[in-house]
């Protein structure tokens, strides 16, 4: 045999064999992850002690919870010096925390609106539902408005007709340019809402009075208020943010400048100043005689504020797309809007999901700031409850309850965003296709 021969050829193919059984089990995992060296062991022991200390501090307080008490002093009497949570305040005042001073007999209306909210969201958030269900999603805002504020059904109907007018004008004028058509649509809808709506509502209500007992904005409060502002802000700030992000990247200098100015101005100002502007200053700028509902003003301001952040988040997603995607879309003959809608935005929004949901969660929690302009959000109501002699001196229980409710909503949004990211992943879907 030649010792210096470097030529070698495999004669038989190695057949695939099963992977050797996993080393270890529980004990091995514990050794590897918890007691891997003395630093790791020390940290494990310290963490366990910290957790134990925390549980021992809170457990008796929670364990001694008092649910049946009409006042804090009654609670203290029952507890007799032992530490314990006085949840009696939540039992006593939970309707107020949820609805504010909404008339008790009409609680069913916001509740129904809340339940229907999920029916309206389902076809948007999840796939596999019939496209026709989206009609309900479109109708829902008007319906919810009518249920919560009451009054004549014809007001929301007439507002929807304004959108129909805008769509009609747009489709007529679109032949002479998108910009002109958009202007015509906006002006047409504004005129409709300003002049046609009041007359139409009056006539329609006289002929077919479909009325609910009206409830004023002052009576709205608690989580009802937070959810109304939060959901409207979220629903409106996303499309506005998309437009602003596209505007900021637009090739048209005027559009770009307007978008940049808007975004930088709104982002450079604290939300609370915008809210004060909404509550105090806006009346000076509006035509005299128009009374603009405070909640509507707050929704507008919160939307504008959130949309500036949204625009920057989405701009990040747009910037992350390779230029080849724009070029490929253009080379196929897609015009700007089609390319954006079909190719660019689906990808850019997918990249931006964590940032978008982050903004949504921030917006929802920022709704508590409205207490500074005199609206009764849950925090303001907590202060009001504590001002009552029965519950003076209580605060942990109220804030824990409010925090827990906010947590449920925000955690839900966070989980949904993770689900959505998973669903939209198209890079490694071997399993699904195999």
């Amino acid at each position: 045999m030649n010792m210096h021969n470097i030529s070698w050829v495999r004669q038989d193919i190695v057949a695939p064999s099963p992977r050797p059984p996993g080393q270890g089990g529980v004990m091995d995992w514990v050794r590897k992850n918890l007691f891997n060296g003395w630093v790791s062991s020390l940290l494990t022991v310290a963490s366990v002690m910290a957790i134990a200390w925390g549980v021992m501090a809170i457990a008796p307080w929670l364990g001694n919870s008092v649910w049946h008490a009409g006042s804090l002093s009654e609670c203290r009497q029952i507890l007799d010096g032992a530490p314990g949570a006085c949840w009696g305040v939540i039992r006593d005042r939970w309707t107020q925390l949820l609805f504010g001073f909404y008339p008790t007999a009409l609680y069913w209306r916001p509740m129904l609106a809340f339940v229907l909210l999920f029916a309206a969201l389902a076809p948007i958030l999840f796939r596999g539902l019939p496209q026709r269900a989206l009609w309900f999603s479109a109708v829902y805002p008007g319906l919810a408005f009518w249920l919560i504020w009451g009054g004549s059904l014809w007001l929301p109907v007439s507002i929807y007709l304004g959108f129909a007018v805008a769509t009609g004008l747009f489709s007529i004028a679109v032949r002479s340019g998108v910009g002109l058509a958009a202007t015509a649509a906006i002006v047409g809808a504004a005129l409709w809402w300003l002049y046609a709506t009041p007359a139409l509502v009056e006539i329609a209500t006289d002929t077919a009075p479909i009325l609910l007992v009206p409830v004023t904005s002052r009576e709205l409060g608690g989580f009802l208020l937070s959810i109304v502002i939060g959901v409207s802000g979220i629903a409106l700030s996303l499309p506005l943010g998309i437009l602003l992000a596209l505007g900021r990247r637009s090739g048209l200098p005027l559009i770009r400048m307007l978008s940049v100015t808007f975004i930088e101005f709104i982002r450079g100002v604290p939300l609370i100043t915008l809210l004060f502007t909404a509550s105090l200053l806006l009346n000076y700028f509006l035509p005299p005689g128009t009374s603009f509902d405070l909640i509507l003003r707050v929704v507008i301001m919160v939307t504008l504020f959130a949309s500036a952040y949204m625009a920057e988040v989405i701009r990040g997603g747009l910037a992350a797309l390779p230029r080849g995607q724009y070029e490929a879309a253009g080379a196929l003959g897609l015009d700007y809007w089609k390319a954006q809608r079909l190719v660019i935005l689906p990808q850019a929004l997918k990249i931006s999901i964590p940032g978008i949901v982050n903004s949504f969660i921030g917006l929802f929690k920022d709704t508590t700031l409205v207490m500074f302009i005199g609206l009764l959000d849950p925090i303001a109501l907590a202060a009001a409850i504590r001002a009552n002699t029965n519950w003076q001196g209580i605060y942990w229980e109220l804030f824990i309850f409010i925090g827990a409710v906010f947590f449920v909503f925000c955690f839900g949004m966070s989980r949904y965003s993770q689900y959505l990211e998973q669903r939209l992943r198209t890079d490694h879907r071997w399993e699904e296709c195999a």
Partner: protein
């Protein structure tokens, strides 16, 4: 065998002689800032003609074919594609882009859509072809590039060669009159280059008007009617493939061919 080949070639030449112009570029110049990237480009391409453009990197060959569907703007001279002059008129640009298909170096498939959806997108939204018809059209061209079985996968699950063939099918679904190829095989592993070139050769044999920026000289010899050599933003030499490779006229062409064919 040889006889039929010559017959086919001469039949092709006869067709070219009567066909109109697909692309006419006259006195075209382009600058990036102060940098003069394309200088006095004159090029006419007949319908059915196959042109291979080669040259060292940075010579402006990609920029030139990207001017043909206005992915790049030219500053002087004229470009007429399929009878339509390219100006800043968006309508005209979209009209040209409908008739001109493009295949990119990095495929540029839409990763959020399946292969089938990639192919159906433009016919449905630009040509307004009904969905079912667009699906049949897409499947037809996917069969042509020999990957109909991958239609429901996403681009990220395909190999580079497969992705590039999908990109060709996607462009063909618009039934373009002219196809532009911008270094279609430069981003591919050597094993996959052949499958893409075979697809392109098949397309050429069907009479598609093609402009290819490529360094695949074997491809140029097999299908090109004309080979164009560019250097420093100018067309330096233009000739039939036989003469181009056997007797290059310019010193720079000789140096370039020596570089790429030398080893």
């Amino acid at each position: 065998m040889n006889n039929t080949m010559t017959q086919r070639v001469s039949a092709h030449k006869d067709r070219l002689a009567v066909a109109g112009f697909a692309v006419e570029i006259a006195g075209m110049n382009k600058w990036y800032g102060d940098f003069h990237v394309l200088r006095d480009i004159n090029l006419t391409v007949r319908l059915g003609e196959r042109i291979v453009i080669c040259g060292p990197s940075g010579s402006g060959k990609s920029t030139m074919i990207r001017c043909i569907n206005r992915l790049e703007e030219h500053q002087s001279g004229t470009i007429v594609v399929d009878g339509i002059e390219l100006t800043s008129d968006l309508k005209k640009i979209e009209e040209v882009r409908r008739e001109v298909g493009m295949v990119f170096q990095h495929f540029n498939l839409f990763p959020h859509l399946t292969i089938l959806q990639n192919c159906m997108l433009a016919p449905v939204w630009v040509r307004k072809v009904p969905e079912k018809q667009a699906r049949d059209l897409a499947m037809h061209f996917l069969e042509k590039v020999r990957i109909p079985d991958q239609a429901h996968k996403y681009p990220g699950q395909l190999s580079g060669g497969q992705q590039q063939r999908v990109a060709i099918a996607r462009a063909l679904c618009m039934k373009p009159r002219v196809m532009l190829f911008d270094e279609p095989t430069s981003a591919l592993d050597p094993e996959m280059i052949k499958e893409v070139l075979d697809t392109m050769i098949a397309l050429a044999e069907e009479g598609m008007t093609m402009l290819c920026v490529t360094h695949e000289m074997g491809f140029a010899q097999a299908v090109a009617d004309r080979v164009i050599f560019m250097d420093q933003g100018q067309i330096v030499e233009e000739n039939g493939p036989k003469a181009f490779f056997s007797a290059p006229q310019s010193e720079r062409t000789r140096a370039f061919l020596g570089q790429i064919l030398g080893h």
